[in-house]
Symmetry: C2
Subunit: 258 residues, 2 copies
Amino acid sequence: MHERPLILVTNDDGITAPGIRALIEVMNELGDVVVVAPDSPQSGMGHAITVSTTLFVEKLKVDSGPQQEYSCSGTPVDCVKLAVKEIIGRQPDLCVSGINHGNNASINVIYSGTMSAAIEAGIEGIPAIGFSLGNFNWNADFEPAKPYVLKIAENVLKFGLPSGVVLNVNIPNLSKSDIKGVKICRQAKARWEEEFDKRQNPHGRDYYWLTGKFVNLDNGDDTDEWALKNGYVSIVPVQFDLTAYSVIQNLNNWNIND
Amino acid sequence: MHERPLILVTNDDGITAPGIRALIEVMNELGDVVVVAPDSPQSGMGHAITVSTTLFVEKLKVDSGPQQEYSCSGTPVDCVKLAVKEIIGRQPDLCVSGINHGNNASINVIYSGTMSAAIEAGIEGIPAIGFSLGNFNWNADFEPAKPYVLKIAENVLKFGLPSGVVLNVNIPNLSKSDIKGVKICRQAKARWEEEFDKRQNPHGRDYYWLTGKFVNLDNGDDTDEWALKNGYVSIVPVQFDLTAYSVIQNLNNWNIND
């Protein structure tokens, strides 16, 4: 890389979130940064795109850094699409998403707007990383995460990523001295055990709040959940070819064409 | 299976869509049917969940069939969660989603609310199938799809599905006599080439409509796109462990812990 790389930064907590501010600060050390991020929180949006309404984009300045910034009324995936096609007008050298306020390890990768933005960039052929911190608070401390974000992004800029793969990076909510290092992991088998909080509105109509607790069903010591519980930063290489290749033969034994 | 199986039906086009009516009609032949589907279209919602607002559920009757029906103000994934935890109160024997008005083959699996509902059921351990027809029209003809929907659902009820796998079934928009049969396939490598339609609102502010064209980058004759183009119903076994296992060793060669 002879010139400074062009880095696209996005997230799902919204453009003013402390997590994206920390990510922008680190990326400004590595390249020329363009931020295109949602104008409001988009957590839990998964890989949603905006097809039935219009998208607004606003150039703005949130802090005094050298980056260019744009807010967008759409989802994280919309932000990546708009950035590449309309705002930058070319593929960036790297797309980073986050730092998410809250863990996106194991099955959370499926629900995560942060990871969907990274996956969208990957689909478009851009090396991409989603970063998340295991702390939901708006005032979470992103300082211990920064050296890992820097190192991982440097490695991706240097070595690239295989086609069809993006990285899901989770950082445990620990002090700098308590983080033990980085582990390359597989996605733990886990799920959410839903609990619906049923209430009645002032007009007597029932409604629900979706809540739930996370259940890890996986005892493997090669998973992202294990790494995080044991003080490591986890990196899971994530693919968007969802084909379960090992099952194809099995299904061919069905008599479905009889 | 001694008793009639309990079948959960959902979709992303909304509870009144002709596609879900066709699916309910077929499922009524196979078991006792409970429908929990969005009260309005949710296309392109991906695996979105509703965490920042409340969910309303309404018992209703859309046609004269024997099924129980509920509409929900949330996303397709919300519908599955609510159905299992609050409405049915136990795991159904099968969850089917669709029939979607429009193709969900290849990379569309990532953006599809129809498939996300099936994937959510799969995460919860329920055998699940998403069905889609290659015709976006509200007045699409679902008749040719019905025998295939029946046969595939029967096979899943009979043989089950491996843990961690759901089926993505796409049906070509052809007459009954022109459909050649069923092929088990892999997901074609493809992507959307975005085109943003930039306009100005009456107050002089720019906005965008997201449009685009589908680009198949994959010449393989074992893909879902190939099958559909050649007159076959495609079945792709889809997994939600997104780990790119083959890349783990490669990443371990990085000097990320130095």
